[in-house]
């Protein structure tokens, strides 16, 4: 069976290609696919009847209980035949329905074939989750089919409506499926053979399954989607109404009724809603002018009927339900396909415009009439047989008291008769509307359809008759399903004649009243307009959606303010409310040592003062300075703790940050624009204080919880013995935790690139303009004396002393930076600090001599330096692998270099060189971007300004 489904899938994938070559001739080819399924089902029919239908098991996701289990029981056999048989015929019919030049044919054929496959899978599977898979697939494919012509907004809305409504039911069903599956089994045969104890969750699960079934089968209150779905091309409607999609709900009810029909709540949903839907559908059907819409409401009514009977859960009802499903499949497909032919041949479906079509299209009118009579339940058609047995089943159930108090049962019987009356009435209206020659209406012009186009409805219409006549034979094949139902007595065989029974009397009554109702249709129509619509599912749907949209907009307006301060506040509030409050409330009191030396207290007070003052300054430069002060204070604290490495690095970082900030500030207004005393500010200060308190509390609480020695206790000894260095900090950076450093320098690479990206936008590499190549601007005298680039700076900005100092210290700084780099392993220093010093040297050159001086000092591209640095770092990480070591492993090299003699090198120094290069490159990037880049922008703007002024004066 999996192969049959695979065949459908392959056909669906191949369909677009097939259509390209064959156009509409592709339909007969595709019809073969469900045709093959039909043939195979016929072939295994005898086995199924004998009770050993084929079964298959393929693993898919065993962990989720999703296994491709398939089996054929009588119920699924009947549905399978209907699905594949009607599917094949409808595809064949499409050959004449569509035009060769329809551009959406590739889409339609593919989706339709897939839809047929999904429906077949649905009725064949034995795994409830897989059933859900196919269930949703039919929803999605029908969505695409209903929206086949999406240019009209009505069609799009109808497609969306069917999608949402059936998915709502489907998802409710999914909860039920999982509740059953997790707690019992996903195997349908297990759930039927060995029903779980009916605790509240199981009952809820089954009822959720029913909700899925009701939504799919368009029962009240979900009924409104089905009439909307006739936006689909007529062949799709025929298939959807007769065999696929809506039958899935009936199938599910029929599937579970044998084991669960007596469960609390079941009958309310199937019989109650079913019969109510039968009435509502019929009521709407008798007033329609569009014959397709009339049929659609007719389907709603019939679905209610089928579900009511299928849900009864007695042997008689089971037999009747199957007979109903078959007869409905046959007559409804015939009628829809008839409508398709009429629509194509006359261009209208309106009963007020159609006239004389029956005479013009006699070969069509005959099968359609057969089907219509079957729908109305008239001897000797399939519909009559089915309806007789259904009435019999319901009457027996009412008599037997299976439906609660006897009164309920008889109310149900009356409702069924009333429903039948309406059915007869709308059938009459359909046949009259479609085929009658109406007085006062001009004869409809009819283009003769291709004989093939009519052949399919003829075939199906004849089927209605055959099945009716061969009712006893039919019931033999259906009996195994009835036998699987535990309750009720073994039913009598389906037959045309059971004698003068109550059902026959009721049928006759229904037909008589129905015909009467049709006769006085104008009166009925006027009466109907006075009855307010009882249940308007569609309005509920629209209201629900509108409410949803409004609620969504409201919620989003509330949560998505578009304001960064609010987002930050939300984060901080969570931080304060969760870890902060927990730390304060449950952390316990710690004894706190305020300081080791009074100097720490002094530094601390300065830092605090600077931090508080930042809040009250309005000048950007001042605030940068004050924040810098806290940073320098921190480096003082490091010194007081005896950590010179950290202090040096912190000091350098702070300096670099200050320089970079100041360079940036050139492009910003000098003052903050905010108001110093706004309420928002008070709020934020409060939040800031609370955050600070939380952080402090976390720090205190966690420091007090330490029970074990830190891993770093072993660092000094290990650093010397394994890392070959005396400076623990440096060994930690380039060896013990070199992997972190590797990551951090990648951060620098990204940061450097980012600065360049923001300023230069398009490229990583910058144009160099060394000082030597520059002409001095007017007003300066000749070449600069101390710095090459001095002459390029405007006279009023030059400072001779600065130039002299720069000249003197630049090389010293570079030397110091190299010293820091190479001595770092044993003395304070290292590649990072060294790189920062070298970078600062470049900054000094820039500040003293301008951008051309910078290009003179560093005549290379910053990106290249960064890249080389990263290359060195990465390669030195990889290099030990070549010598049988592990990544970033270091070793000592003792080299004999003639001028120096014996040299003792720890290999981690190469790593440090890379770090050095990256830091220098990043600094260069920063100065090039924030210095040179901004200079250029400013000059350009000034240039523009001057040009504009110049232009202004000339005018």
């Amino acid at each position: 069976m999996a192969y049959l489904l695979l065949l459908h899938l392959i056909a669906a994938v191949a369909a677009p290609g097939l259509v390209k070559v064959l156009r509409t001739k592709a339909f007969p080819v595709l019809a073969l696919v469900p045709g093959i399924a039909f043939g195979w089902l016929l072939f295994v029919g005898a086995d199924v009847r004998a009770g050993h239908g084929p079964a298959e098991h393929t693993m898919w996701v065993p962990g989720l209980g999703l296994d491709l289990d398939f089996r054929v029981t009588t119920l699924s056999w009947v549905l399978g035949l209907l699905v594949s048989g009607v599917g094949a015929l409808v595809l064949l019919y499409c050959t004449w329905y569509f035009d060769d030049d329809d551009p959406s044919l590739w889409r339609f054929t593919s989706v339709f074939t897939a839809f047929a496959g999904a429906m077949l899978g649905l009725v064949l599977t034995d795994n409830l989750l897989i059933l859900y898979v196919f269930w949703e697939l039919t929803t999605v494919f029908s969505y695409l089919l209903i929206g086949h012509n999406p240019a009209s907004s009505t069609n799009r809305r109808a497609a969306m409506q069917s999608l949402i409504v059936t998915t709502v039911g489907g998802l409710a069903m999914l909860i039920g499926v999982i509740a059953l599956g997790v707690r019992h089994s996903y195997s349908i045969s297990v759930l039927l053979a060995d029903p779980p104890p009916l605790d509240s969750i199981t009952i809820a699960g089954i009822l959720l399954l029913l909700i899925g079934a009701l939504s799919k089968s368009a029962l009240v209150p979900f009924h409104f989607w089905l009439p909307g779905a006739m936006a689909a091309p007529t062949p799709v409607s025929a298939y959807l109404h007769a065999a696929a999609m809506v039958k899935a709900g009936v199938y599910l009810v029929a599937l579970f009724a044998p084991a669960y029909a007596s469960m609390p709540g079941w009958q309310v949903m199937t019989l109650g809603l079913g019969l109510f839907t039968m009435l509502v559908g019929g009521w709407h059907a008798i007033r329609q002018h569009d014959i397709k819409l009339l049929l659609a409401y007719g389907t709603v009514s019939q679905l209610g009927f089928m579900i009511a009977i299928a849900g009864l859960g007695t042997k008689t009802a089971a037999l009747a339900a199957l007979a109903l499903i078959i007869s409905h499949g046959l007559f409804k497909s015939t009628l829809f396909l008839t409508v398709g032919v009429i629509d194509k041949s006359t261009g209208t479906r309106d009963v007020r415009e159609l006239s004389g079509v029956g005479r013009a299209l006699l070969p069509l009118a005959i099968p359609a009439t057969l089907a219509g009579l079957s729908m109305a339940g008239i001897v000797p058609l399939a519909g009559f047989v089915a309806k007789e047995s259904a009435m019999d089943a319901l009457a027996k159930a009412a008599e037997g008291g299976g439906l609660g108090p006897a009164a309920y049962g008889w109310v149900a019987v009356v409702a069924l008769v009333a429903g039948s009356v309406l059915t007869v009435a709308y059938t009459a209206r359909f046949l009259w509307g479609a085929f009658a020659t109406k007085p006062g209406v001009a004869r409809t012009a009819v283009t003769m359809p291709h004989p093939g186009f009519i052949a399919v409805p003829v075939l199906l219409g004849v089927g209605c008759l055959l099945v009716g006549v061969l009712a006893p034979l039919e019931s033999e094949w259906l009996m195994p399903y009835a036998a699987s139902v535990p309750t009720g007595e073994t039913p009598a065989s389906l037959a045309l004649w059971h004698g003068l029974t109550l059902p026959l009397l009721l049928s006759t009554l229904a037909i008589a009243v129905g015909v009467g109702l049709f006769a006085i249709r104008d009166l009925v129509g006027r009466a109907q307009s006075f009855v307010p619509p009882l249940i308007d599912g569609e309005r509920g749907y629209v209201r629900a959606l509108r409410g949803l949209e409004r609620g969504a907009v409201g919620t989003t307006a509330l949560t998505q303010r578009g304001s960064l301060p609010i987002y930050l506040a939300a984060i901080l509030l969570v931080f304060i409310a969760l870890p902060g409050v927990t730390a304060l409330a449950r952390g316990g009191v710690q004894t706190v040592r305020l300081w080791d030396t009074p100097a720490q207290a002094v530094v601390g007070v300065i830092m605090l003062a600077a931090a508080v003052l930042v809040l009250f300054t309005r000048r950007r430069l001042t605030s940068v300075m004050l924040v810098g002060a806290t940073g320098y204070g921190l480096s003082m604290l490091f010194i007081l703790h005896g950590a010179p490495d950290l202090a040096i690095t912190q000091m350098l970082v702070e300096t670099v940050a200050l320089v970079v900030m100041v360079l940036t500030l050139r492009r910003l207004p000098t003052k903050f624009t905010r108001h110093p005393h706004s309420p928002a500010r008070t709020w934020r200060i409060g939040l800031g204080v609370a955050t600070g308190v939380s952080v402090a509390a976390i720090a205190l609480v966690s420091a007090g919880a330490r029970r074990r020695l830190p891993v770093s206790a072993d660092f000094p000894a290990e650093a010397y013995s394994f890392g070959h260095g005396q400076n623990v900090v440096n060994v930690t950076l380039v060896d013990i935790r070199a992997w972190d450093t590797l990551g951090e320098v990648s951060v620098l690479v990204a940061a450097a690139t980012g600065i360049a990206s923001l300023i230069f936008v398009r490229t990583r590499s910058t144009r160099l303009a060394p000082a030597r190549a520059q002409q001095p601007p007017s007003g300066t005298s000749g070449r600069g004396r101390w710095l090459l680039g001095g002459h390029t700076v405007r006279k009023e900005k030059r400072s001779v002393i600065f130039e002299v100092v720069t000249r003197l210290i630049f090389h010293i700084m570079i030397a110091v930076s190299l010293y820091l780099l190479f001595s770092g392993h044993n003395e304070p220093g290292g590649g990072f600090a060294g790189g920062l010093v070298a970078g600062l040297a470049l900054v000094v050159r820039y500040l003293a001599g301008g951008r051309h001086e910078l290009d003179e000092a560093a005549p290379f591209d910053a990106g290249l330096v960064v890249g080389l640095g990263l290359l060195v770092v990465t390669l030195s990480a990889l290099a030990p692998l070549a010598f049988g070591g592990t990544i970033l492993e270091s070793t000592v090299l003792d080299l004999a270099l003639p001028p120096w003699g014996e040299v003792h090198i720890v290999t981690s120094v190469f790593f440090d060189v890379g770090v050095y290069l990256i830091v220098v490159g990043m600094m260069l990037d920063a100065v090039r971007s924030l210095g040179t880049g901004i200079d250029r922008q400013t000059e350009q703007e000034q240039g523009d300004e001057q040009t504009r002024q110049h232009e202004g004066t000339t005018r």
Partner: protein
């Protein structure tokens, strides 16, 4: 026994991209060479990651103590089942997005993705992602985050337009805040335990005062929930992702939040197994799902809709984690894998839409189904996958979580099951609206509607000012032109799609189908991974073979 050289492969997913970044910086003037380098580096990562998956599955976690330092002194890199799987998925995604970006760059003349900036930064980003997955050390995890964050700061502001810088600011500032809090957490953890090695923490945290452990757990959780965009710390995401260049948004949306989710999984199972915080996390998951998806329903821009679904579906993963059962964890891992691929695919598709139609605003899109059938199929498949329509990976992932929820069966767990279903429905609704408007509606109708909306917008400017999102602003100028001038302006920005872009997008979408076909073995794998996580054992003993005893 595993081959001795395998552990040395563990750092390669970080080193290869870094090497690539170095080379692309060095060969900055040759775009061809840069492309070749980037593609080779990332292909290499995919290969290594695949090998690590196999090794971790058959021989247990692969551990490397970098620099051969004895445990627990140095930094351990660990590739267990979870991290190697994450690595494999993320490397496939980054490679495909790279190909997309190259396709876009080649077809573009306007330097939207400047090659000399994009390539090194993108490679650094992937190195950071790999590092985050492999870190066996809390501080190194922080470093991994920093690498990818800094690279992402650069990528999100690529091109330096006003819009990108403004939304980039939101992103950068929020990320900086979360990094600061992360540092606070690390300081606290080290202060309390004296170590940052995860395996050792797993042992030591159990020994400290539970109240302090709870404080540390909550701090870390806050940090990772910011990264993962969990409500109420999620609002930054829809405001910052949509404006970046398409490939950047795609990789951010697919990957970056999942690293937060990964970190939550790791810390909840390895560091704080005795404290599932079920009620707290389930409530957060609930709010994230529902508020996120309501956001998606309320939007009219494709990229923003997708960003909101992204937030919403983070709730699914958190749901699985919060259940703190093997099945919940397995479901969450499976969902992560699914969601990385599908979300990336959808953002790539929205990139194609933007390129093809010149906009991603639903008010103005139309007629795509007829005009671009391939694009339509890709969108439809990916959208249905995200909505959890069976039998695609989204459905399987959802089923895994729902089953786990039903198994737990507490009232709150049932509420979450229902919420997950509702979220699924609303996701379908939001995406079906996109389909209906952008793909089904005819272009003429779209134009007429666009003009009508533009007029309405003119009339009441401040009626829905929160809706005047960045994306909307971006459109505003064009809309103004539309009202004043000829309505044909809609179509003028259409550009053809390069084969490379389509190919990468199709491959990304197809990955969802591959996951579906391979769901059996993949789900079994995630279950084994979840078993490992819940047992903690193979992880801790592999990292610290000696220290376990004391």
């Amino acid at each position: 026994m595993t081959a001795s050289w395998i552990p040395n492969l563990v750092p390669f997913p970080v080193l290869l991209p870094l090497l690539g970044a170095a080379l692309t910086l060095a060969f900055r003037r040759s775009p061809h060479l840069q492309r070749a380098i980037s593609i080779s580096a990332l292909t290499g990562v995919v290969a290594v990651a695949a090998l690590l998956v196999v090794e971790a599955d058959s021989h247990g976690p692969q551990v490397l103590w970098v620099g051969a330092w004895r445990e627990p002194l140095g930094i351990a890199l660990v590739a267990d089942r979870l991290s190697s799987l994450m690595l494999l998925v993320s490397s496939i995604v980054t490679l495909l997005v790279l190909i997309f970006a190259i396709g876009q760059g080649q077809a573009n003349d306007d330097d939207e993705t400047p090659v000399s900036i994009f390539h090194p930064t993108y490679l650094v980003l992937t190195a950071g992602v790999a590092n985050a997955f492999l870190a066996g050390d809390l501080f190194n995890l922080f470093v991994g985050f920093e690498i990818l964050l800094f690279a992402s700061y650069v990528l999100i502001t690529l091109g330096g337009t006003v819009l990108r810088i403004r939304s980039g600011t939101t992103y950068v500032v929020v990320s900086l805040l979360s990094s600061s809090l992360f540092l606070v957490a690390i300081a606290g953890v080290y202060a309390a335990t004296g170590t940052v090695n995860l395996a050792q923490l797993s042992i030591r945290l159990a020994g400290i005062n539970p109240a302090v452990a709870l404080v540390l757990q909550l701090t870390l959780l806050t940090v990772f929930c910011i990264k993962a965009a969990v409500f109420p710390m999620s609002a930054w995401l829809p405001d910052s992702y949509p404006t970046a260049p398409a490939p950047v948004t795609a990789v951010f949306a697919g990957l970056l939040t999942k690293i937060g989710v990964y970190a939550i999984i790791r810390m909840q199972t390895l560091l704080f197994p005795q404290s599932p915080l079920q009620t707290l996390l389930l409530s957060a998951a609930l709010l994230t799902m529902i508020i996120g998806i309501l956001g998606a329903v309320s939007q009219t821009g494709l990229k923003r809709i997708l960003s909101f679904t992204l937030v919403s579906h983070i709730g699914y993963m958190l749901f699985g984690i919060a259940l703190a059962t093997t099945h919940g964890m397995a479901g969450a891992i499976f969902y992560v894998v699914h969601h990385i691929t599908v979300q990336t695919a959808l953002f790539l598709i929205s990139g194609l839409v933007e390129r093809f139609a010149g906009t991603t605003s639903l008010d103005r899109l139309g007629g795509l189904a007829a005009a671009a059938p391939v694009l339509s199929i890709l969108f439809f498949v990916a959208a249905m996958n995200l909505s959890g329509i069976p039998p695609m990976s989204g459905f399987l992932a959802k089923i895994g979580l729902l089953q786990a929820g039903v198994e737990v069966g507490t009232p709150l767990a049932w509420v979450l099951v229902v919420a997950a279903i509702v979220t699924s429905l609303l996701t379908l609704y939001a995406l079906a609206k996109v389909w209906s408007q952008a793909f089904w509606r005819s272009q003429g109708e779209a134009r007429a509607a666009a003009i009508a909306t533009a007029r309405v917008d003119d009339e009441d400017d401040d009626a829905y000012d929160f809706e005047l999102t960045l994306e909307a602003e971006m459109e505003a100028a064009q809309q103004a032109a539309l009202v004043g001038g000829t309505p044909v302006a809609v179509a003028t920005r259409q550009r053809p799609l390069s084969r490379m872009m389509k190919g990468a997008t199709a491959a990304m979408t197809a990955t969802g189908l591959v996951i579906m076909l391979a769901a059996g073995p993949l789900f079994a794998f995630t279950q084994r991974a979840a078993n490992d996580l819940m047992a903690r054992d193979p992880y801790v003993t592999s990292v610290l073979p000696q220290a376990v005893r004391h």
